[in-house]
Symmetry: D2
C-alpha cells in the first residue's frame, strides 16, 4: 500500500536556515514565525488532515535533521541562503541517502545553491539575479501536472527578487512553470527531477525580503508539490546487486 | 479541488474491440467476459471503491463512446487489434478532443496501432513482433514512479507475444518499464506521454492468445496507471487565445 | 558515411505559403523576395558551400513539394499562416512520410498551426497571441546545444508578434530557447522533437509584419537548426517487422 | 565558428585506469596497448584526420590530466574499475570544472562508478551485474541520433559482463541504446546527459575480461559519441551573474 493511499497523514518536515529572521528586523516583520513557519502554515492550510507538519532549522542540534527525523519524514522542504556552508557534510550525506531511498524533497528559491541541491544536480546551479522589486509572473507550461492544479495562469507576484537564465541545472524531467520578470528575464521556476527513488521539485518564487510565502498561490504550489513528491512505495536504497542467472524465477522476485 | 482528492470515485471506461472473443473459441475460453471484462475486473479488484468502472466495445452504437459517456469518464483504457480501421473517425475525433481537455488514456498492447494512439503520437507506431510464446520480463527503470508501485522487478510473464524495438514512438516523457523476451529483443513497454491536458500511458503486455490480463502484476500496473492518469483539474480544451497587454491583472486571471 | 560528414552539400528546401507578399504591400516591402527568399538567403549566408538551397511555395504545382523534390531534400523549412487549409492532404502525407524516414523539418512561427506540424505533434498546437509590436527577448536555456551556438543571450527582437503560453505541444525533447515579451508573457520558442527517423525544430520568432527574417541572429539559429536536423543515416521508413527468433544472428543484421 | 565546423581536428584524450593490464596476464593479452590503447585506436580508425588523440592513465603525474591537458581537450573518454578511489579529488574537481565549461565526456562501462560520473549524476549509479559470459545485444531506440549512425540493430557482442537494471541514474536526456543479456536482463546502455555546458555520453559495453573494445561496432559508437560530444561553442564556465535591469540592451549582449 502506498503512503499516498493510506489513511496515515503525510509526514512533512519544513526546514529553513532561520538566520535572516534573527538578524534583520524587516525579515522578522515579514516572517514572525520564520520562513519555515510561513511555509509550514501554507502546507497545513492547503492539506489539513492529509499532513503532519514539523519544522527544523540550522541552529538546532544536527540542524534538526537527525536520522530519526528523516526516517519519519515523507517529504522535506528546504530553504537556505546565507549559511549554506554551515550545513554539515554529515547532514547533507544523510539527506542525500534518504532522497536516494525515496524521501521527497522540495527545494525553494535560494536553496538552488544549497549543498544538497548542487550535489543532487551535479552542476553549478548558478543563475542570474537582481534584487530590484521586479514583478514576477509564473506561467504554467504543463497544465496536466498535479503540481499546477488550482493556480492561476499566470500567478502574479507583485514584488520579487529576479532569478534569470541561464540557470545551470540538468534539463528537468518535467518543466511545470516558467517565470518572467519586469526586466524581461525568464526562468525555469518549477522543475521536477527524480534522483534515486526520490522525487524532487525545485520552485524559485520566495525570498526573505518579500512576503512571497504568504501568497496563496505560492502556498498552493508548495502543497501540491508535497503531495506529488510523497513516495509511492516503501523506502529502499539503490544498491549494487550481484545477480545469478535466472535469479528472478525464485521466491525472492518481489524483494 | 482535484478529482484525485475528492471523495467521488474515479470514473473509468474500459474499451475493447471485442472481436477475437466472438470469432475464436480459444480466446473466448481465456476471456469469457471479453478482454474488456478481464481488464475491468483487474481495475476493480485493485482500486475497489476508488473507482466506478464501465465497459464499452466496438459493436455498440458509436462504439459505446458517446459524448455523454466520455464526458462522464476520467480515464479511458483502450484495447484493439484486428478492427482498428472499423473505429469511426468521428469517435476518434471525440476521444482525441477529450484527451486534449484532460481525460486520461491507457493504451494497451496492440492498441499501439489504433487510430487514436497513432494520431496522438504523430508517428507510425510500428514495431517488431513474433507470436512464439516468448517469456517476457518487465523491468522497472523508474522505481519512483507511482505506476511501478507494488510490482516485482521483474514482472515475469511466462508466455507472451514478442514486441521489439524499434518501436516508432516519440521519446516518452517518462520511461517506466523495459521488457526483454526469450529471443533477446527489448521493448519500451511502459511509457507516459502528455498531450494537451491529458495524460497517456502505453503498456505493452497483453494479448488475446495469452492470459496476460489475468496476471496480478499486469493488473496492478493498469490500476496504478488509472490512478496516475486521472485529471488533476477541471477538464478544459486548449484553445487559441487572443490576449490584450496586461490582461492577467484583471479579475479574469484564474479562468 | 553520414551526409553530415560527406563532402556533398546539404540539400535544403525552404517552403513558404507566399500569400501575404502578394496581397499586402507592406509585407512585400519587408520581404521583396518573399519570406522564403529571406529565409533562404539567411541559410546561404551562414552556411555557404555546406548547403544547396532551393525554395518552393503553395501556388506551385503540388506546392513545389513533389516526391522528387522531397527525395532530394535533407532538410525542409516550413512557413505558413493564412492558407494552411489550402495545403493538400496528399502533400502533407508525403512530407510526413519523408520526416518519418529521416528528412529534417524546421517549422517557423505561424507554422505551429500547419497541417504537418499538428499532425506530427498530435495536439492542438494552440497558443496565446497579440500583434502589438512587443519586444521579444530570446533566452538560451541549453547553451550546450548546437542550435544555440553563436547567438547572444538574449537575442533582442525589437518588434514582434507576441506568442505566449500555454502552447499546446508535447513536452519537447530538448528546450533550447525561451522568449519573453513586453507584456510579460513567456513562450517556449525553440524546441526539438524527434518523430520517426526525422528531427524537427520549431522556432517561433518571425512574422510577415516585422523584418524578423532579416535579423542576423534569427538567421543564425535557422542555419544552425538546418545543420542539426540533417539526417545522420540513410533515409529509411519505420515499418512493421515480423521477426523470427534469432534472426539477428544471420547476414542481414545490418540491414 | 563552432569547433565542429572548423578545419582543426577534435582534440580527444582517452583516459583509463591502466591497472588490470599490469596485474592480469589475460587482460594484458586482450589489451596489449592497454584499454586506453584499444579505445584510442578505435577512435583514430573511425575518425582519421578529424581527430588528434592522446592517452593518459592513473599512474601518470596528476593522472595525466593536468590543467594544460584538459584545456587542450575537446572530448575526454573515461574507463576505470578497481581504482576509482585512487583518483584524486583535485583531478575530479578539475575534470568537473572543464565539463561544466563545455568539455565533452564519454564514460565507458565500469566508469559508471567513477568519482566523476557519480558526481555529475548526483545518484548512487549502482546497478545489477554478473560476470558469466552473457551474450549482449545492443538495440537502437533512437535511430535518428548521430551516435547510432552506421551500427547494426542490434549490435551483437558474443561475450560480455552483464549490467542490468535498476541502474540508478537520472533519467537520461536521450536514451539511444537498450541492451539485453542472455539471462533476460535489460540495461539502458547508451545514454546522453547535459551538465553545465558539457555533453556526456555513457556507454556500457566493454570490460577488461572480454575483447569488447576491439569490436568494430562498439568502436563506431564511441567514435560517433566523440563527434557528438564535441563542444559547439567556446568553453565558458557557468557563473552567478548579477544583472542590472536592461543590461542586455548595451554592447555587452554577446558576451
Amino acid at each position: 500500500m502506498s503512503p499516498k493511499m493510506s489513511a496515515a497523514p503525510l509526514r512533512v518536515t519544513v526546514w529553513s536556515e532561520g538566520r535572516h529572521e534573527q538578524q534583520d528586523a524587516q525579515v522578522a516583520r515579514l516572517y514572525p514565525q520564520g520562513i519555515h513557519g510561513a511555509v509550514a502554515e501554507g502546507v497545513r492550510l492547503n492539506l489539513g488532515d492529509e499532513v503532519r507538519v514539523r519544522t527544523a532549522t540550522l541552529d538546532e542540534p544536527e540542524h534538526g535533521l537527525t536520522e530519526e527525523v528523516l526516517a519519519d519524514t515523507d517529504v522535506l522542504t528546504w530553504w537556505g541562503h546565507i549559511a549554506h556552508h554551515e550545513v554539515s557534510d554529515e547532514v547533507v550525506d544523510r539527506v542525500h541517502r534518504h532522497v536516494m531511498a525515496g524521501m521527497g524533497l522540495i527545494v525553494l528559491h535560494s536553496g538552488h545553491w544549497s549543498k544538497i541541491f548542487t550535489r543532487l544536480m551535479g552542476t553549478t546551479c548558478t543563475l542570474r539575479w537582481r534584487a530590484e522589486r521586479d514583478r514576477e509572473l509564473v506561467w504554467t507550461v504543463d497544465p496536466a501536472h498535479p503540481i499546477a492544479a488550482g493556480v492561476p495562469h499566470p500567478i502574479v507576484i507583485d514584488e520579487q527578487e529576479m532569478y534569470g537564465e541561464f540557470f545551470d541545472i540538468p534539463a528537468p524531467d518535467e518543466l511545470v512553470f516558467i517565470s518572467s520578470f519586469s526586466g524581461g528575464e525568464v526562468f525555469r521556476s518549477g522543475c521536477t527531477f527524480r534522483r534515486g527513488h526520490g522525487r524532487i521539485f525545485y520552485f524559485s518564487p520566495g525570498d526573505q525580503d518579500y512576503p512571497v510565502y504568504h501568497h496563496p498561490d505560492v502556498r498552493r504550489v508548495i502543497a501540491n508539490a508535497v503531495t506529488w513528491a510523497a513516495p509511492a512505495a516503501e523506502r529502499r536504497t539503490p544498491r549494487l546487486v550481484h545477480s545469478e542467472t535466472s535469479w528472478f524465477e525464485g521466491e525472492g522476485v518481489r524483494s
